[in-house]
């Protein structure tokens, strides 16, 4: 009903949120109070599957990874759109077919562009 919206359906979600936060903070707090503190060098080391950590964790990734990831997202979305469209294809008719062709065509332009800019070649 317009104007009288009360999010009562979300009350369980809210309670869950409060309980989750309280549980997380509570566990940390109780641990901090009761645990015995006896730090030594090996204990303070960052955990790296039992191997001594080597070098800084912040390393530069090649920009190519980002390009590949971005291209993946674009064509992944295309595939995700195609699934529901294919399922109801016989019900929605020619109009939806034309729309999907236009959508794929627009992505094709992007594909051509990426191809020509050599985004797919790995040096």
């Amino acid at each position: 009903m317009p104007g009288t919206y009360l999010p009562s359906n979300y009350l369980p979600v809210f309670i869950f949120l409060v309980v989750a936060i309280a549980f997380g903070l509570g566990a940390l707090l109780i641990g901090a109070i009761f645990r015995i503190r006896r730090p030594y060098k090996e204990k303070l080391m960052p955990y790296e599957s039992g191997i001594d950590p080597v070098g800084e964790p912040r390393v530069r990734f090649s920009i190519r990874f980002y390009i590949i990831a971005m291209l993946f997202v674009v064509f992944d979305v295309e595939a995700i759109f195609l699934y529901p469209w294919a399922v109801v294809f016989d019900k929605i008719g020619l109009y939806a077919f034309v729309e999907m062709v236009i959508f794929i065509f627009i992505l094709l332009v992007g594909y051509l562009y990426a191809w020509k800019k050599e985004a797919f070649t790995w040096e």
Binding site: P2, G3, G93, Y95, V109, L112, Y113
Partner: protein, 469 residues
């Protein structure tokens, strides 16, 4: 399948198709000027289909009416002039890439969708298309730190404002069950609720960000200074006008019953914007930064048209943006002319004695500065005159007085540029100007229009009045 339903959106379809064509052409054409020419031809093609486009489409989500068409012409002028001033400038900045022009076209497409949207979701789509394209354009000089900084700042703050807009839309949807701007008014039936106040505030904040109303103007000086000058000119007119179009449509149709409520917010923001823009512009020594603050101040004036409301107020706002497009891009064209290899030409110091070294450039800058101040017989005067007339007519005479007072303050920093050009002696070797035929053409168009609009404005005023119906 009835093909005629796409008629109202045909200009947008043509624009989208041609922007894709320009993107592909860029891969095969090495002379980048040619692509700029293609962009201008594309605008011609889109303008050609506009007269047949009037009507509403997609169950009232999209409309092509006088209001939107008037704004679309502002965007076209913006695009054409921005392309003209870019051609030589990009070469000097060593950033000549063909994507530049197709991004400009996609940004313009987003603006067109914003002006025509009668549904908040369509409006949001247009806004995102425009914003994402301009983020990239702001960082287009890849080897320049300032340009990168501008793009990143613009992106972060723009993303926040988009989120705020969506939040406002969500609240309206929760209250009414619709996102159609026309249906919102009938669903709300003039009933004021706390949620609605919040929704109005969120919408004002989101549009205020795009328009650069204080206190949401923080990004403007940094982004305008760092972005390529041609893009600063583009951004200071197009996206601003598009956000004004959306603001005008949402508030004066969907939320018209609550005009007393949002009018109060807008009046406060308008006064604050004029104050911040005009007063902070005074202490700027960088001309791009000064023009950024000036564009903030001009947004403050133009909002008065929305506050005054009605056909009178909205047409005054539209006229003001139309005139502003010419005078602002003209001023940026002169700034671009001073940018040559090795000389940034952005500091006020570079204008010292320009009247002696380059008299013609100085005269042009003089005209644009007079027009931005609002001195007759330039277009800026006519724009302000009708805005203030609309404010007085709507019973906001005091607001008009405040705006006039701030205009007087603005004379200080606009005329300071003139003083530097005419009253100071040139220092050292005079630098050459980066003139070119397209830039000259842009300056010719803007100068003629600024003067014609100042001397014989009635046909243009009638056009806006007709557009609003």
């Amino acid at each position: 399948m009835d093909i005629t339903i796409i008629k109202p959106i045909l200009p947008e379809i043509v624009m989208a198709a041609l922007a894709c064509v320009v993107l592909i052409l860029e891969l095969f054409i090495h002379k980048k000027e040619t692509i700029g020419v293609f962009a201008i031809l594309a605008v011609a093609a889109v303008s050609y289909v506009i007269p047949q486009s009037f009507g509403s489409a997609f169950n009232g989500m999209f409309i092509s009416d006088g209001y939107s068409v008037f704004f679309k012409f502002i965007f076209f002028i913006n695009l054409i002039l921005a392309v003209l001033i870019s051609i030589r400038y990009l070469k000097i900045e060593r950033s000549e890439f063909g994507e530049y022009y197709s991004l400009m076209m996609f940004a313009t497409l987003g603006m067109m969708i914003m002006a025509s949207a009668t549904d908040l979701i369509v409006l949001y789509l247009g806004l995102e298309l425009m914003a994402l394209s301009t983020y990239i354009l702001a960082g287009f000089i890849r080897h320049d730190r300032r340009s990168n900084e501008a793009a990143l700042k613009y992106f972060f703050l723009g993303a926040f404002s988009s989120a705020i807009l969506l939040y406002g839309i969500t609240m309206i949807y929760a209250l009414t069950g619709t996102t159609n701007i026309l249906a919102i008014a009938s669903q709300l039936q003039g009933k004021m609720t706390t949620q609605l106040i919040l929704a109005i505030v969120f919408l004002v904040v989101a549009f205020g960000f795009k328009i650069a109303l204080a206190p949401f103007h923080m990004w403007t000086p940094d982004v305008y200074e760092g972005a390529p000058t041609s893009i600063t000119a583009f951004m200071s007119v197009g996206p601003k006008a598009a956000a004004f179009a959306a603001l005008g449509r949402v508030f004066t149709t969907g939320l018209i019953d609550f005009a007393p409520d949002w009018r109060g917010i807008l009046i406060a923001l308008s006064i604050l914007t004029m104050a911040v823009g005009n007063i902070l512009a005074i202490q700027q020594s960088n001309i791009k930064r000064m023009l950024a603050y000036s564009s903030i101040a001009h947004a403050g004036y133009a909002v008065i048209g929305v506050i005054a409301g009605g056909a009178e107020g909205l047409s005054a706002m539209m006229n003001y943006l139309f005139i502003y497009a010419f005078m602002n891009i003209g001023a940026f064209a002169v700034v671009i002319m001073l940018r040559v290899e090795g000389v940034k030409g952005e500091e006020l110091e570079h204008y010292r004695g320009l009247a002696k070294t380059h008299p013609l450039a100085a005269v042009l800058m003089l005209i644009f500065m007079f027009s931005l101040t609002g001195i007759p017989p330039t277009g800026g005067f006519i724009g302000k005159f009708y805005l203030f007339k609309a404010a007085v007519g709507a019973g906001y005479a005091w607001l008009a007085v405040v705006a006039v007072v701030f205009s007087v303050i603005s004379a200080y920093f606009y005329l300071r540029v003139v003083m530097y050009m005419y009253m100071h002696e040139p220092e050292g070797e005079p630098a050459a100007l980066a003139t070119s035929t397209p830039l000259g053409l842009a300056l010719l168009i803007t100068t003629i229009m600024v003067i014609v609009l100042g001397v014989y404005p009635s046909p243009f005023l009638a056009f806006a009045r007709l557009a609003i119906g």
